[in-house]
Amino acid sequence: MTVKNLRLKAARAALDMSQEDLAKACHVSRQTISAIEKGDYNPTINLCIEICRVLNKTLDDLFWES
């Protein structure tokens, strides 16, 4: 069962970043960011950390179940 990552999407939208912008900042493809947001791909911890760094959020904020 795929679970969408809406927190990531919201955090990205709050900074007015497109998927492409976030992908470039994290050195991945746009499709990878799209797949993470849709819940089709589980990123590695390194990518999670990189995304958090770019969006200025913590792992708890974006990826861990609250």
């Binding site: 998927q19 991945v28 493809s29 746009r30 990878t32 799209s34 990123p43 590695t44 990518l47």
Partner: protein
Amino acid sequence: MNEHLLAIVGYVIMIIIVYVIAKLARKKRATYEFDERQIHERGIAYQHGFLTVVIGLCFEIILFGASPVIDKDLFANITYAILCLGLVTYAGYAIWHDAYLTVNTKRKSYLIITGAIGILNLGTAIIRLTSGDPIITSGLNFMLGIAFLAIFAIFILKDLIKKDEEDDSEES
């Protein structure tokens, strides 16, 4: 015997020279990297391609093992077809999951090259057919032409679908 040995030595030297040139050329080019998701998907694509080839070759061996006379040209052409099918399976899966090209690769030029190789091979096969050569002698050209045009078609189809996906993902 000496001629064979010379030929082998010549091939080995050629391979070493090509390897060295490729290594030197690679250092000058920008590094093309796949991201972690792409590496994962390419691994799956390789599995599918590999299994396609293995299963195809098993069928071929069973088919030809049962017949008393083996036509060398037919055997070769069926092998080419299986290898091309494996190639298309691998490339098709990778393209469909956006794992075939890196972010840095120029998509348009890659498309043009793929289409050109397909058309050239198919064109060569058709010309040989029309000039009277039996179809079995131009089998490899046919297979490669069809394979590369299939890869080209998958690229185009993916581009058409991707455009809709991009619009949806940004709206929702």
